[in-house]
């Protein structure tokens, strides 16, 4: 096994329960985004574009679907003999076995995997964020600072700061103090959950953390604070591009529509920082004679006979005659029949929206603004012809024809 300077460990995590029905059958990193991507395409593509060719994906929830999507890693050029992408689920050992307890425990259980590559540095990533980042620059910064741990940091608006783990940073970039979601933030410098560790040091702390019965075995809550109190070199690496947590329905919807907003700095067509994905073999999409498409993106294999406004169509979606799709995200393989209306909604994969059905509501049509929210239809469902799905509804079962 040839030594690697830096390998990445991606915490693909649990179920992502705040995404409700969308993660019923798939792990959160496999949730579709942006017309042809899945969330995990972003950290994986960032790795490859940063020259990191070895990625462990840690998951214990629905690894099969993730495995299915990632396959042998070829779409990301990660089908390597030495290195490449590996899905790591918990496994049985001679002395018994256990599920991953926390983020640090998940890495602890895979020390042997990491040791195989004898890396000098380990990059810890999460599978929840949409962003483009050159990790090699962060790694250079880590080396320049001779840091033990470097944390990627983003300045967030002051009024949102209390939702984040915050850092007080000295002039030299070193971290003076941590605050976990404080009520009265003293900083707006938030941790992005992207860490570079010197492996020798991290390995030592993983063993310490595991030995500590009181620990919840979490990087942010336990391991990094322990390093900090031991006086280890912790540095913050500033990042100022687009970064979005897509952990909720609302934020997933926002993040998709951000692609259509010219004022937002997220360029998916940059030839020098491609986002790779495992796309189906579909022909180009077809716009019929009656189609009307405005400020939208459409993936391959779609057929559009109706109208589209400010929306994102994934592969192989069909929009029937007279159907309208507005401010909505329609995931692969879904069929929207004639005259149906999908607005302010997320429709999951392989769903059928029957003729003249109405899914979702415009905010201005809802009398009490608190009742408004994005409507969601789960995958594989059938919404009967003429039925109505109100704003903020999360549809988990088929809806019969004409249900209002």
């Amino acid at each position: 096994m040839v030594k690697k300077e830096c390998i990445a460990m991606l915490l693909a995590g649990g179920q992502g329960s705040r995404l409700g029905i969308l993660t019923k059958n798939i792990a959160k990193p496999a949730v579709p985004y942006g017309g042809k991507y899945r969330i995990i395409d972003f950290p994986l593509s960032n790795c490859v574009n940063s020259g990191i060719d070895t990625v462990g994906v840690l998951t214990q929830y629905r690894p099969l679907e993730l495995n299915d999507y990632i396959g042998n890693g070829q779409p990301w050029d990660l089908d390597r003999m030495n290195g490449g992408v590996h899905i790591l689920s918990p496994y049985q050992q001679m002395e018994g076995s256990q599920w991953y307890k926390g983020t640090a425990n998940a890495i602890y259980q895979n020390i042997q995997f990491i040791d195989r590559y004898a890396p000098e540095y380990v990059l810890i990533l999460s599978g929840d964020h949409i962003y483009k980042m050159d990790y090699s620059r962060m790694l250079d910064y880590h080396k320049d600072k001779k840091a033990d741990c470097t944390i990627a940091m983003l300045e967030v608006p002051w009024d949102e700061a209390s939702r984040f783990g915050l850092m007080l940073v000295r002039e030299d970039g070193s971290i003076a103090e941590f605050e976990e979601k404080p009520k009265e933030p003293r900083s707006n410098k938030a941790s992005m959950g992207v860490y570079v560790f010197t492996w020798k040091v991290l390995r030592e702390y993983l063993l310490l953390d595991e030995a500590d019965a009181a620990s919840s075995n979490d990087f942010g809550k336990d391991l990094i604070p322990r390093m900090h109190s031991d006086g280890r070199g912790l540095f913050a690496f500033p990042f100022d591009g687009y970064w979005k947590d897509v952990g909720t329905i609302e934020s997933l919807w926002d993040a998709n529509l951000d692609i259509l907003n010219p004022k937002i700095d997220l360029d998916l067509s940059d030839e020098n920082w491609k986002i790779y994905s495992n796309s189906p073999a579909s022909p180009p999409h077809y716009l019929a004679v009656g189609a009307r498409v405005q400020n939208s993106i459409i993936a391959e294999g779609c057929t559009v006979e109706g109208s589209l406004d400010y929306s994102v169509l994934f592969a192989n979606v069909s929009v029937g005659k007279g159907a309208e799709v507005k401010y909505s995200i329609v995931m692969p393989g879904t069929v929207i029949e004639e005259g149906a209306c999908v607005q302010y909604a997320i429709v999951a994969e392989n769903t059928r929206i029957g003729a003249r059905a109405v899914v979702g509501e415009c905010p201005e049509d809802v009398s009490n603004r608190d009742d408004w929210g994005v409507a969601v239809v789960g995958s594989g469902l059938s919404i009967g012809a003429g039925s109505v799905v109100k704003a903020k509804t999360m549809v988990e079962n088929d809806i019969a024809e004409g249900t209002k």
Partner: protein
């Protein structure tokens, strides 16, 4: 078809001269088609979908773009340790580097490769024939008839190409008469140049023909042997088109705007694989107006598009109008330009305000990287 039993052979330069505009800098196999494909994707996908795991691609000239497209064969899952895809450049002998003159010579030059393969059968395809054919059915028909050679054919107007055979059959489906087509518009049963036979038979036929300095596969190998060998036809009944000119390239492309025609070429059970570009989905801006068009990923549409095919990365600027046209990869149409019945090659640029117009039966061709 059983794994490892059939070797695929593709001629990447078949009938290059029929399409000089698009094959000036590339092989017939690397001619773009249907918005995101190259012509070689069709025979290659047909082979892979039928379970063939070893394909030799015979090249003659201009094959750099083909090699770029095929790479190590990964999109077709043909990057293998055993089997896989083999590009056979023109080496006619030790030390030399000649260029093949004809099909027999090309096969003879690749005979070392063909002989080393352990497959029992061989199937050969040309790149100017676009179809989505289950070669397994061809194979089953071949075995059922007990023929020595089975040739796929189509009924209709034969393409205007040299050396295209037309056939007549006996009641059992055996070809009892064949001639090389010489023009004419009446319907015939004409060869699609898809040949299936035992590999050992091909080796023998090619060695004999080369030894006798025969040049023409159709006349000297097939037609000459109609008596000695049992040669059967296999009628292609699905979508099948033979490109014989820029006009037919244009009309076969335009046909794809019909959903029935598209369904024939893109069958769910026979996906067509191609090299991915990893571009984002197509973007339609506010104010765009697109209808009856086939649009690939990576396109940006700000203007008007109608009855057209846009390949990956084509850009139609605001105020521009594209009608009845085919824009190959990364074509740029400047603001307020008007194009109608035009085929633009890769990376062509039509400057703002230009007005180009061809005719439906005689499209206007703009060469690769040409700026107008």
């Amino acid at each position: 078809m059983k794994a490892n039993s059939v070797l695929g052979i593709i001629y990447s330069n078949a009938y290059d001269t029929a399409l000089p505009e698009l094959t000036g800098l590339r092989t017939m196999g690397s001619v773009p088609f249907a918005g995101r494909y190259r012509l070689i994707d069709f025979p290659l996908s047909n082979m892979v979908n039928s379970g063939i795991s070893k394909v030799g691609v015979i090249t003659k000239s201009n094959y750099r773009s083909l090699m770029d497209h095929l790479g190590a064969g990964k999109p077709w899952d043909l990057s293998r340790k055993l089997d896989g895809m083999f590009i056979l450049p023109p080496f006619s002998g030790a030390g030399a580097s000649g260029v093949y003159q004809c099909r027999i010579e090309a096969l003879y030059g690749s005979l070392g490769f063909i002989k080393r393969c352990t497959d029992e059968y061989v199937v050969m395809c040309d790149c100017n024939v676009v179809c989505n054919m289950d070669l397994g059915r061809l194979f089953d028909a071949h075995r059922a008839s007990g023929a020595d050679i089975t040739i796929a054919y189509q009924h209709g107007t034969a393409p205007a190409l040299d050396d295209i055979m037309t056939f007549s059959f006996d009641d059992g489906g055996r070809i009892n008469g064949a001639s090389v087509f010489n023009g004419g518009t009446e319907d015939t049963d004409f060869s699609l140049n898809i040949f299936l036979m035992r590999k050992s038979l091909l080796e023998r036929l090619v060695t004999e023909a080369a030894g006798l300095k025969m040049l023409d596969f159709e006349t000297d190998v097939i037609i000459r042997n109609l008596g000695a060998l049992k040669i059967h036809g296999f009628k292609a009944d699905g979508y099948t088109r033979v490109i014989d000119s820029l006009q037919s390239y244009y009309s076969f492309s335009m046909e794809l705007l019909d959903s029935g025609v598209r369904a024939g070429l893109f069958r769910p059970e026979g996906p067509v694989y191609t090299k991915p570009r990893d571009s984002m989905p197509a973007f339609y801006a506010w104010g765009s107006d697109a209808k009856n068009c086939l649009v690939a990923s990576g396109c940006v549409i700000e203007g008007e598009v109608e009855n057209s095919i846009l390949f990956r990365g084509a850009h139609v600027s605001a105020g521009a109008s594209v009608k009845n046209s085919i824009l190959l990869q990364d074509t740029f149409i400047g603001a307020n330009a008007k194009v109608s019945c035009v085929i633009t090659d890769k990376r062509a640029v039509i400057r703002p305000g230009r007005n180009l117009s061809g005719a439906e039966n005689y499209p206007f061709f703009v060469g690769k990287e040409i700026v107008i």
